[in-house]
């Protein structure tokens, strides 16, 4: 088996706030092969961003406690890396596209500077060379007049433009793994589609592995081959995209699909999932989804289902899966 680009085993992230621990990510295990594209889905607060950020150790570790049996990126145990090691990892090996380009870009620096910074740090480029490279990258992500744009500041660009800058920044060092954290939620619908196409095209061309974090299942349909669903800090289902769409195994996934705006489903038929996600400060021994689940049994309320193989390439954490296991 080839070396995994991302290998997480039993990752837990706990925030401490005024003495009450909040477990944002619980016991998450995920392994990604090079070049693989994974869609990570869940409601906000489900721990998907936190899990991805901990893979890069971007969380404020004064407040976040990270525990994992294994947390490897490209074969390097991230948990044991010192400051130097982390700096070497971030950028060339794994990079991150943040959700809101309006706040994720430094307002006081030109976009050229911000794109070129990583190149200068990791490739030792001169200021001038970095600028030229930034122009090329901007051109690659479809920014018109890149020569002029590199000298501009974030506030002089439109939202879509800024997100392209973020993407150019993330791509600048040709990472092996790209984490795109809801890169389109802050954008207009028309721009969203362009950005999705852009990232998709680049991924296809460069062949890096990619995690696309979103709460929008529909969006992932044409992006990801594999979809991982998280709920209340845990992975509840992990399945190939075609099979998940065709026959969701976990009731929550089914609920998500039903509530998703799909062009082929009439508005009236879209059903929101009743209830709301549990308080992350609580640590139930039961299935966290049980209170909202129409299939929940006594067992669900007394015991927590493990994430287990459910047929060949599928994992589900449910005592009463909807879809039968396939070979």
């Amino acid at each position: 088996m080839t070396q995994a680009v991302l290998d997480i085993e039993n990752l837990s992230v706990t925030f401490r706030r005024g003495g009450v621990p909040v477990r944002a990510v619980r016991d998450v295990s995920l392994r990604m092969a090079p070049g693989e594209v994974v869609g990570l889905v869940g409601e906000s607060g489900s721990g998907k961003s936190v899990a991805m950020m901990s893979a890069m150790r971007l969380l404020d570790e004064k407040r976040a406690e990270i525990a994992a049996k294994r947390l490897d990126v490209d074969g390097r145990p991230v948990g044991g890396l010192g400051r130097r090691g982390l700096e070497a990892l971030r950028g060339p090996v794994v990079s991150y596209i943040f959700q809101d380009p309006a706040t994720a870009l430094n307002p006081l620096l030109t976009v050229g500077w911000q794109i070129g910074e990583g190149l200068r740090r990791h490739r030792g480029l001169s200021r001038e060379a970095a600028r030229r490279e930034a122009v090329a990258l901007l051109a690659k992500v479809g920014v018109p007049a890149p020569e002029r744009r590199v000298r501009q500041f974030p506030h002089q660009l439109s939202g879509g433009m800024r997100q392209r800058v973020m993407i150019a920044m993330a791509l600048s060092l040709a990472p092996k793994l790209l984490i795109a954290d809801e890169p389109t939620t802050a954008l207009d619908v028309t721009v969203q589609a362009e950005i999705v196409r852009l990232v998709q095209g680049i991924q296809a061309a460069e062949g890096m592995a990619m995690v696309w974090v979103t709460h929008d299942l529909a969006l992932l349909a044409r992006l990801a081959r594999r979809i991982v669903v998280m709920y209340a800090g845990r992975i509840v289902e992990d399945a190939p995209a075609d099979r998940l769409y065709a026959a969701p195994a976990h009731p929550y996934t089914a609920g998500l699909l039903a509530s998703t705006s799909r062009l082929d489903v009439a508005f009236a038929d879209q059903k929101p999932i009743p209830g709301s996600p549990p308080d992350p400060a609580l640590d139930p021994v039961s299935c966290a989804f049980a209170p909202r689940c129409f299939r929940a049994s006594e067992r669900c309320r007394a015991e927590r289902p493990e994430l287990l193989a459910h047929g060949g390439r599928r994992r589900v954490a449910c005592f009463h899966p909807l879809a039968e296991a396939e070979p």
């Binding site: 925030f15 401490r16 706030r17 404020d60």
Partner: protein
């Protein structure tokens, strides 16, 4: 998402501040019952007695006596009345003036806003201490003049914060809705705009309270403070300043009272600011 400081500690500081202010207010209200002596009863033969724990002091005057033989504890307790009254009165008056101007400027905009903003600019360019001395030296000190001057100095803070808040609220849907269904302007101001401006006003008020007490002390130092039969802490501080080296307790006791109360006000201000709106400009 995640707060900058642990929840408990933030509240702890606020609670400390509230406790200090509460004790000060309680002292002020219950002064005649708390104070062992009258704050003005003079005994020329018992002058400059040090606090009880210093050699020469006695338990009958816990914090010692002043240059006219008056009991300092009693004076500090009674002083809370004047100092806090100055603080509260200045805060209320300043808040009234400032909020009104802020609301008018923010809500109506246009030339009213320009005019009032200009007034704010002029006021801000005035060296405040000089203005205060100037007014008080010309019209004479006393309780109300000092309150008036302090209010004059602080209204700008309210006006600026309230104006900003009102401008942001004004654009929101429920205000438009109220306007379209014909709610009169005064009603909109009272029921929709004012409630939203309350939290910034309270934050500014607690900082202003602290500032007012401190400024009153400074004005007393310059000889233009509140001066009457009953002492304010600032007056006591000023009266005792010639004895700084021979009888430090004359200034230390009111000084500590001022510092603590101001600390209380500032802690509350910080706390409220965190709670209401972390980004609210000071």
């Amino acid at each position: 998402m995640i707060r900058a400081q642990p929840f408990l500690r933030r509240n702890a500081l606020g609670l400390i501040g509230l406790t200090i202010l509460f004790v000060a207010v309680a002292c002020a209200l219950a002064a005649p019952y708390v104070a062992p002596y009258s704050p003005t009863s003079i005994s020329l033969v018992a002058r400059m007695k040090p606090p009880a724990w210093i050699e020469g002091g006695s338990l009958s005057h816990l914090l010692g006596t002043d240059n006219l033989g008056r009991d300092i504890l009693s004076r500090v307790v009674h002083g809370a009345r004047i100092s806090l009254a100055v603080g509260f009165a200045a805060v209320i008056l300043g808040a009234l003036i400032g909020s009104t101007i802020g609301i008018l400027a923010g809500y109506f905009g246009g030339w009213i806003d320009s005019g009032l903003s200009f007034l704010i600019d002029v006021q801000l360019s005035f060296p405040f201490t000089l203005l205060a001395i100037f007014l008080l030296a010309t019209f004479g000190g006393g309780f109300w003049p000092v309150v008036l001057v302090l209010a004059l100095a602080t209204w700008v803070n309210y006006a600026r914060v309230v104006r900003g808040k009102v401008m942001s609220v004004k654009g929101q849907d429920f205000v438009h809705a109220a306007q379209t269904v014909g709610v009169p302007t005064l009603g909109i101001l009272r029921h929709h705009i004012l409630p939203n401006a309350v939290s910034p006003i309270i934050v500014v008020a607690s900082f202003s309270m602290a500032q007012a007490i401190l400024t009153e002390a400074a004005l007393s130092f310059l000889g233009v403070g509140v001066d009457g039969s009953n002492p304010s802490w600032g007056t006591m501080l000023n009266d005792g300043r010639s004895y700084l080296q021979s009888a430090w307790w004359l200034t230390a006791m009111p000084g500590i009272a001022i510092a603590l109360t101001v600390l209380g006000g500032n802690l509350c201000g910080d706390w409220l600011q965190d709670r209401f709106d972390p980004r609210l400009a000071r």
